[in-house]
Symmetry: C2
Subunit: 691 residues, 2 copies
């Protein structure tokens, strides 16, 4: 019926020509051919759930009339058949946008140009806020199909499910669909209630395993299908409730990972298991329950029935991966850091005790890259696609563990680095989580050594008029991760710290804010003691904690650069807490990340979460990341001698000047040094800290 | 390395010739080739679990020495390499039968003839008691593999499971194995305990879905693998605990189906669901719990760890099928008798709440043929293979429902017939289940009209000396299904019944044993009232119940014969209670089954249970029955007008004489008739019975 090209090639040259935009696909079809049918013949991406029965309205198109010289046609007003009863019924009931027709009803009569609007495309592009990211094209694993099922016949006895499967095959080309017992148990009343017309949600496995019927509704289901993109962090669990039809985020929320009560960082959780046999089961239950609660809260926020959540994609680090899956993570706590399983997993969410969503929903867990480089790093790789980069890109995702990727089209390397929780405000004397009252931004005047800061929940700087009144609600309670990084960097730029990280005395620095604390000094950022508030200081111990963390991060990046044989990278992508909260400039002052031109340093936000969303919205992305993960060169920091060397070398604080003066104040300070040991003696200092 | 034929074709004609018996396969191999390797190259069926490591002893072979003129070789005593240390270690530890060698250790040095004993064959033939049945060749879905797994390597990080999968692929050719989460959780400690040498049970899906690792043990697992063949009847649940290596039955047991408390027959259980919403869930739980208990009892009886039970095959009628699977059976109670699903099912036993066996065990449920013709009928078809019969065979399986198959190589037809529970002693005035004290055999002297009988639990007939003493233990308590059938048939042959099924009066028959009971008469089989025991009679109501049941059975068989266009069949196979308990002769006297020469009537025992065992032992049988079921012509008795006609016509009791006098006493009776209506007025009599 279709002819895959222009009239010159056509044996029936007088059939009307149909040109689809924006695809430009064209062909000739006999007069009377429905537009939907023409679109399908040509492989034009025009949606339909009801299969052309005029009830789902997914196939809306806009015919264009007039002279289309670039296409070589003139479209007459009678190019399509008249507006029909089905369209009128739909118009009366729901309304169609002006100029729209239903593609399954409008028939081609003369040459015509037909525009497929974005919302009528099956493989819609997801609108994303960042301009610099790759497109997400909708191609969800779970899709809705409307089918008419043959009624049972005693003379040709087959099961209702077998006739449903036959309908899916004949009407949608789906072969060999299967279903769980619980779906079989729902089947018969729903088929009869729908008068043998039903909508089914079918999950397509990306590995090619048999498609599974997840849910069934009588008649046309118009409630939508939803999925959860879950970023299961050591500290925070974040989830995006996503529309599986157009990729829009209907609700997003995060909760604390309840496993924190078993240990702040991953290794302390592994230790908990070692010390408490069965402790892994407690942690597994805790995180699964938290996810179930989070899912139902998101559904409530979005105002949807939680049973419409039919998929979940989960990304996480290896320890969280094992603890979520119910696998004892003890092997991840010791060399050779063997994962129980590293491949992606596709399984029922019921096996993960996600009790609040559809009981037949499916989970997809991204693959792990190595024992220390998890599915979260894979998700970052999926989101940032270093393997598609023409220039050499360094991608750093900072959490309690840092995931680091380095690569380009030729080769991608990955490692993780145990930065510890200092960047999140933990293990800092005045540290606290990011919450109202926490100091998050810091500036120190290099002349006066006086600080100004901002706290979370208040738009004003501390030296601006009205700050005290606005800050009164929360008070000034402590300093969070981004605040401590800025404070340390500003202290260095203001000459309060020397290159080895030592805080000078009041005399050395020239400010009474440097106070003695045992054998070392501390810098007073805020003294609320007069009003009964806290004394917020940055102690020598805090400096050391930040130095250890940033050394680990830097050493990881350098290790990958060594492996790749380069001294510098073309660009840097900062993901996770970086970019969102941590100031790039201050990070570079601290030497957290290798130097790079500031315009070559970009922020990717929650790249792991974005990777989870991509895998949720596009089934092909699952195959992509699984293939890419196999190609990534894994570098294990724990056993690389070079990592130790880089770690020690990175202990110093290199910049005594603002590396990007054009962005703010220009500061040039003399080299300062308070201790005899000079710069770079990281090992000595570490020993001293232990003493 | 191998050469697939004789020396003429061989380029290296001087290599030793190896001839395997009983297969006759032969080839030349370089001196030093292990026998196991030669066997594998030639496709000789020689077992090995450890893959030739000399630890499993499955590859035992017997070399033959001397002159083998029929094979054209002379085997010298030094044809194989010397007995080695590995063989000596095995001999010391376990002992080898005289003349045996380990095929993986013994190397071919000169021409040799090697016998593979039956127990060393992978595809062993299962020894079955009946001579007339098809072979079962062992080819179980779940098999044991010993593998050596690569240790984890930080430089090439992969999960332990991925390395196990790789080992199964490289050492056993199994590709793409998967596992459930709970296996992943067991994996790491077992791999380390076994020093990276483990045994795994792998389930192969007959549909070609990915093989699944079901269980893992450190080192060589020698505890065996077991499966359950389950015949889930309306009244009785029977299970055979079967060794998956050689097919032997380790324990067999049956329990009452606890659903009986919801209704004796299937339709009363369906009614229970209709009257009690949620009643199906109660029944599902009851039968699943009974099966779990039965499984653990069987394991205990056989002295095996129940976690070694890794498979279950289930056959049952459609209502039991749905109730077991957790599907409301209400649609099966009304036309068009639509099954929720008719295909075979392969699923985790955990979904069926079989909690006492291996938590990752797999269940296989045979396909249903139609809404009234279930997986039990499919199992009978698998066991009796009518599609392979050269002559036309009628297969009848009597339970509370009767399954009837008719066919040969050209075509097979199937139906079920609602005989009701009368054949099992239910709905009979003195009826009882088959238990000690129940009358099970009856003879009536046609001259004196005096009966003699046997009861269950006593070897003597009631008129033999010592009977009273032996029967005293149980007493004479009632009459069971086989007893009532014999009683009615004997009453007919003795002239106590007329052709329409009416019992004559004492005067008409000439015996005081015919007593008045309302408007009809009853025959006293046993009067224990003097000793305080029961009066066991056969009432007119009992006769009617048996007539209805036998008419239904006969009508079903006739309906299939009509469909096939035949008046008689070449042979009859009786399965289920038939043959095992019901006398073939008496069944034919009653007209339960079409007439056939007695030597063409055989008994198949529990054919449905045998079908379950076949499907358990041989994965190919699953494909076979699934293909055959699709080809069977389903005949629905409930809507066939011919069935009603046959039913009415079959109401009469045709034989007034023993149809097989050569087998016993010769009886020729005058035609007897006690009522004016004469023979054949079935409809009148049914109306009267209702009045």
């Amino acid at each position: 019926m279709s002819e895959q090209d222009t009239q010159q090639d056509s044996p029936s040259g007088k059939d009307p020509l149909v040109i689809f935009t924006p695809s430009g696909k064209r062909g000739r079809f006999p007069a009377g051919t429905p537009v939907l049918q023409a679109a399908r013949s040509l492989g034009v991406d025009l949606d339909s759930v009801c299969g052309g029965r005029g009830i789902c309205s997914k196939c809306q198109i806009t015919p264009s009339y007039g002279d289309f010289s670039k296409h070589g046609v003139t479209v007459h007003p009678d190019a399509l058949s008249d507006w029909n009863k089905v369209e009128q019924r739909y118009e009366d009931k729901r309304g169609l946008k002006p100029g729209r027709r239903l593609g399954c009803q409008a028939q081609v009569l003369r040459d015509v140009v037909i525009d497929v609007p974005p919302e009528s495309q099956v493989h819609k592009q997801v609108i994303r806020k960042r301009a610099d990211t790759r497109e997400i094209i909708m191609d969800a694993a779970t899709r809705l199909y409307f089918v008419e099922v043959e009624e049972p016949d005693m003379h040709e006895p087959t099961g209702d499910f077998e006739r449903l499967a036959k309908a899916l095959e004949s009407q949608w080309g789906l072969t060999g669909v299967t279903a769980e017992l619980s779906l079989m148990a729902r089947l018969q009343p729903v088929l009869r209630k729908g008068g043998w017309k039903v909508s089914v949600a079918v999950h397509h496995d990306h590995t090619g395993a048999a498609p599974k019927v997840i849910e069934i509704w009588p008649g046309l289901h118009e409630g939508g299908l939803y999925g959860l993109a879950i970023d299961l962090g050591s500290t925070t669990i974040a989830a995006h409730l996503t529309d599986l039809e157009d990729g829009t985020v209907k609700a997003a929320s995060g909760v604390m990972n309840p496993q924190i009560r078993f240990g702040e960082d991953l290794m302390s959780r592994v230790s908990y298991v070692m010390m408490n046999p069965g402790g892994d089961k407690e942690m597994t239950q805790a995180v699964r329950e938290a996810l179930s609660v989070l899912a139902s809260e998101l559904a409530e926020e979005a105002g949807i029935d939680p049973s419409l959540i039919v998929e979940a994609v989960v990304v996480c680090n290896p320890v969280m991966h094992h603890l979520f899956l119910g696998i004892d993570p003890v092997e991840l706590g010791q060399a050779p850091f063997a994962l129980a399983t590293s491949s992606s997993l596709s399984l029922p969410t019921a096996e993960l005790d996600l009790t609040t969503i559809n009981p037949r929903a499916r989970a997809y867990i991204l693959p792990c890259i190595a024992g220390h480089v998890g599915a979260d790093a894979a998700a970052v790789a999926l989101s940032e696609a270093p393997e598609q980069s023409d220039d050499l890109v360094l991608i750093i995702d900072v959490g309690t563990n840092a995931e680091i990727l380095l690569g380009d089209r030729t080769r991608v390397l990955a490692c993780s680095s145990p930065t510890g929780p200092a960047f999140e405000g933990a293990q800092i004397s005045s540290g606290q989580r990011a919450a109202p009252g926490a100091i998050e931004r810091v500036e120190i005047n290099p002349e006066t050594k006086e600080p100004r800061f901002r706290i979370i929940g208040c738009e004003l700087w501390s030296d601006e008029a009205g700050f005290d009144a606005e800050a009164a609600a929360s008070g000034i309670t402590g300093i969070c991760g981004s605040g401590i990084i800025e404070a340390v960097a500003e202290m260095r730029m203001a000459g309060i710290l020397d290159g080895s990280g030592l805080i000078g005395s009041a005399e050395q620095v020239g400010t009474p804010r440097c106070i003695a604390e045992g054998r070392t000094h501390a810098y007073v950022l805020h003294d609320g003691s007069a009003e009964g508030g806290p004394l917020v200081t940055v102690t020598q111990g805090d400096i050391r904690a930040i130095q250890l963390a940033k050394s680990a991060l830097y050493a990881g990046a350098r290790l990958l650069m060594d492996e790749r044989g380069v001294d510098k990278v073309d660009r840097i992508v900062l993901a996770g807490a970086f970019g969102a909260h941590i100031s790039t400039k201050h990070a570079m002052v601290l030497g957290m990340i290798p130097d790079a031109p500031l315009d070559k340093v970009t922020s990717a936000g929650n790249a792991a979460g974005t990777g989870a969303r991509i895998a949720l919205c596009n089934i092909g992305a699952r195959r992509t990341i699984e293939a890419n993960v196999r190609k990534i060169t894994k570098v294990e920091t724990a056993i690389a001698p070079a990592f130790q060397a880089h770690f020690v070398a990175a202990n110093a604080l290199p910049h005594a000047t603002d590396p990007f003066p054009e962005l703010g104040k220009v500061v040039t300070l003399p080299k300062v040094s308070f201790n005899a040991g000079g710069e770079g003696g990281g090992r000595d200092r570490r020993r001293r800290r232990r003493g």
